[in-house]
């Protein structure tokens, strides 16, 4: 760290002593702020984990902050393996691979089309492109449930209702506004000289996109991946309406476990099931972290 080298370097000239208080107080303040913020963010997670490790008899007593007296990982096993989601009592693992099968093509296609559209809108001219973008953005504000009925009619007339194609198309449709916005802003913020130079070199629309722009898009692709993975993995309504019986995602089982109204509610299993379902996006966040730092620094220096 810079401070360490400074102290070491000046040790020969000045008496070594406590570091200037100002610096330490600032750092301490920084960490205090971060720890308090972390406590706020972790509070519900604490309640959820603690609840998920208690038997129902303890939960009924209503002491939500207390540690379990009779620790049990039964709820976790149940959530994964044996919780009832209808006639089948197979837990949430039933839909896991379906969710993956829906996730991968949807993320790739929605980000690709968003990037392409953002690229076209930010660096090229086309008649009506701004109007297109405006309608896209406006449409994003409509509650997405309103789209269900019209889309059902359109899909069934084209024959993709209740198929994997249907759900992938749906995720692309609903990812388009945000993805386009992200990429459009990003490409617009890149130095224009790069683009001009590539054009001078004879690069056409597609060549520039694939050879220049996409490779430079790492930082924004990470953000896009985070957004899309989270949204698509946690999606329930589109999956259950458009994916078809054989492709129902994990969120359907999660919904069935968590949202029974007239049946008994096993809060511990619900919490465990929710945390388990969230693991995939969480892993993506954790792993994407390193890319956050590197990619962006590279992009900035290049300019």
């Amino acid at each position: 760290m810079a401070t360490a080298t400074m102290t070491a370097g000046t040790a020969a000239l000045e008496p070594s002593g406590p570091r200037p208080k100002k610096l330490t107080a600032d750092r301490v303040g920084l960490y205090v702020f971060l720890v308090i913020a972390a406590a706020f963010f972790l509070l519900p997670m604490y309640v959820m984990i603690v609840t998920s490790l208690k038997p129902m008899s303890e939960i009924r007593l209503g002491n939500i902050f207390s540690l379990p007296e009779a620790w049990t990982i039964e709820p976790w096993l149940q959530a994964w393996n044996s919780a009832c989601t209808g006639l089948n009592c197979g837990g949430i693992k039933v839909g896991f691979w379906n969710s993956i099968r829906i996730l991968v093509p949807s993320v790739i296609i929605s980000i690709f089309i968003g990037a392409l559209t953002g690229y076209a809108l930010s660096l090229w001219r086309a008649r009506g492109s701004n109007l297109l973008f405006a309608v896209l953005l406006l449409g994003a504000f409509l509650p997405y449930q309103v789209f269900i009925y019209p889309l059902v009619r359109i899909y069934s007339s084209v024959g993709i209702y209740g198929t994997m194609a249907g759900i992938v198309v749906t995720h692309t449709i609903f990812g388009l506004p945000l993805m386009t916005l992200l990429f459009r802003n990003y490409y617009a913020s890149l130095p224009i000289e790069l683009f001009k130079a590539a054009r001078v070199d004879g690069g056409g629309f597609w060549a520039i996109f694939f050879r220049l722009m996409l490779p430079m898009s790492t930082p924004i692709i990470i953000v896009a991946v985070i957004l899309q993975v989270t949204g698509i993995w946690n999606d329930f309504l589109f999956g259950v309406v458009f994916a078809g019986r054989e492709n129902l995602p994990m969120t359907v089982q999660l919904n069935n476990i968590v949202n029974s109204t007239q049946g008994e509610k096993l809060y511990n299993v619900n919490m465990a099931a929710t945390i388990l379902t969230a693991l995939v996006p969480l892993v993506v966040y954790f792993v994407s972290g390193r890319w956050f730092v590197r990619g962006i620094a590279a992009g900035a220096v290049k300019g």
């Binding site: 939500i64 559209t117 405006a134 629309f205 985070i226």
Partner: protein
């Protein structure tokens, strides 16, 4: 000459998927929504013309005006707090601290989790009998009060708190990516010039983050207009109807109450409101004649 036309064709080809999506999915749905709002449709769409009856009922329903009010309060609160908190967290994480990965994941994880159950956890925490209030009282502070969630006038603020919890991590991530994109030379130069740190942030860094801030505001606005899960899990729209929001109103009538005529009327009004708000910004950002870049 020839090259230019070819490039233009490529642009149109590239924009074709977006075009299809916009026309069929978005425009199509918007037009359908407006059309149905003028019919008597209940569970299934019909063409029985109803004039402005659905709109009349809409404006006479106190739940609707309350939900619009709440959307404004929630929107202002959420956007302001998330931007500030997200920025502060990002600035803090940018300071070369230890455990950066851990902190970042802690701030970001709420976004990953389905709010139906995390909302339940919050509901328990905020409940005066079950949660924080009771806990602090048991520790000795018997006068401690934190029962906003059951007070009609305060409950919406609790929804803001939960919304901030869920969304500021994402804003932090966006801001962090923006901050990390700023050249380190800039910092060194500012240090040499003797400018205090906070000044550097306010006068130099934040203006440089403009595109990131805009994206954040758009993201948050989308979340505000569509907020549903949060309210459902936290307060159920209550106590009473005091934390109702437009998306919940629309969904209740669309699905549960089988009155898509009223639901589409509400959606149309919502669309108009959004249109009125974002048109000036869109014009400023994309439509006005710019100093030439190309």
């Amino acid at each position: 000459m020839k090259t230019r036309r070819r490039m233009n064709v490529a642009t149109y080809v590239a924009l074709f998927p977006a075009f299809i999506v916009v026309v069929f999915a978005y425009l199509g749905t918007m037009l359908w929504t407006v059309q149905i709002s003028f019919t008597e449709s209940k569970l299934l769409p019909t063409f029985a013309f109803a004039g402005t009856r659905q709109y009349e009922r809409l404006f006479a329903t106190s739940r609707w005006s309350i939900s619009l009010e709440n959307m404004v309060i929630f929107g202002v609160g959420l956007i302001a707090v998330c931007l500030v908190l997200g920025f502060l967290l990002a600035a803090a994480l940018d300071q070369k601290i230890r455990f950066e990965n851990t902190f970042r994941t802690i701030f970001l994880y709420p976004y990953a989790m389905s709010f139906i159950v995390t909302g339940l956890a919050w509901q328990w925490i905020l409940n005066p009998t079950l949660g924080l209030q009771q806990y602090v009282r048991n520790l000795g502070w018997t006068d401690f009060q934190f029962d906003w969630i059951i007070r009609s006038d305060r409950a919406i603020y609790v929804v803001i708190i939960a919304g901030v919890w869920q969304a500021s991590g994402l804003i932090m991530a966006l801001m962090l990516s923006g901050l990390r994109g700023i050249d380190q030379e800039l910092w060194k130069a500012a240090k040499i010039d003797g400018i205090p740190t906070w000044r550097v942030y306010v006068n130099i860094i934040i203006p440089m983050l403009r595109p990131t801030i805009i994206t954040s505001v758009v993201l948050l606005s989308l979340a505000v207009v569509r907020v549903y899960d949060l309210v459902l899990a936290l307060s159920g729209g209550g106590p009473g109807i005091s934390t109702d929001v437009p998306a919940k109103f629309i969904l209740d009538y669309l699905f549960g109450r089988a009155n898509i005529g009223l639901a589409t009327a509400a959606s149309s009004i919502l669309l108009v409101i959004v249109l009125v708000i974002i048109t000036p910004w869109l014009y400023y950002e994309y439509f006005r004649p710019k100093r030439e870049r190309r």
